[in-house]
Amino acid sequence: MLYTAICVQGIVFVMLACMSYGIYINEEGQTYEFSHSFTVFFVKLPCTIALHLLLYPEVAVGLDIMKFANQNPGQFVRNGS
């Protein structure tokens, strides 16, 4: 189960790394200029906040797992900590 979970997270990481590489090499040929369109602005902000709200439960569960491992070391280390 642990190795499977690490494998799945590895796949997610590779996909994210590919996206960041795409940004690095400027795959889409974007220009670094300020967009003067208000429609773009009004889409950007909700998109950022929406993804933030989508990711918050993931982070909260991750922190809970970390806390659980900290508070209950006996369940993860042989003969307790």
Binding site: A5, F13, I65
Partner: protein, 152 residues
């Protein structure tokens, strides 16, 4: 696994911000947002595909740490022992490190990421536009001859 999950979420958020910062069309903003959402859901798709797994049920219900009941030294009432009341020296070396990492991650997330990161797109696009302007000016300056008299 919890740390990996948190780091992935933070990495995804960084990519989202850097992608959205220099978008010029609404379509691209939404496409990138949906793409990142789907990528982050890959692990959930896999977890949902697993059937009759005890660990899956455990993680899905957001595990709560087991705490011992102790008597409060001041009020004398029974209450749960706090994590901070567990002596740091009693922990193993690994759990000392794990505790420090947990505290630092939580401080970073609760103090900075949760409140400020969603709005950083607004500031970053100004930063990009300024740096792009400076870059353009530098390129123009480099293209111009430094000593015009040499042209004649």
């Amino acid at each position: 696994m919890g740390l990996i999950q948190v780091l992935m979420a933070l990495f995804c958020e960084c990519i989202n911000i850097s992608l959205l910062t220099y978008q010029h069309t609404t379509d691209h903003c939404i496409i990138h947002f949906v793409a990142l959402e789907v990528i982050m859901d890959v692990s959930n798709f896999y977890a949902e595909a697993m059937m009759e797994n005890k660990l899956k049920e455990f993680v899905a219900e957001a595990p709560k740490p087991h705490r011992d009941m102790i008597e409060d030294p001041v009020t004398g009432e029974k209450r749960y022992k706090k994590g901070s009341e567990q002596k740091f020296g009693d922990r193993s070396c690994f759990h000392k490190l794990a505790r420090i990492v947990y505290k630092l991650t939580r401080c970073l997330y609760v103090g900075i990421v949760f409140y400020f990161v969603p709005f950083s797109t607004l500031f970053m696009q100004f930063g990009y536009s300024i740096s792009a302007g400076e870059k353009k000016a530098l390129e123009e300056a480099a293209a111009k001859p430094t000593h015009p008299e040499l042209l004649f």
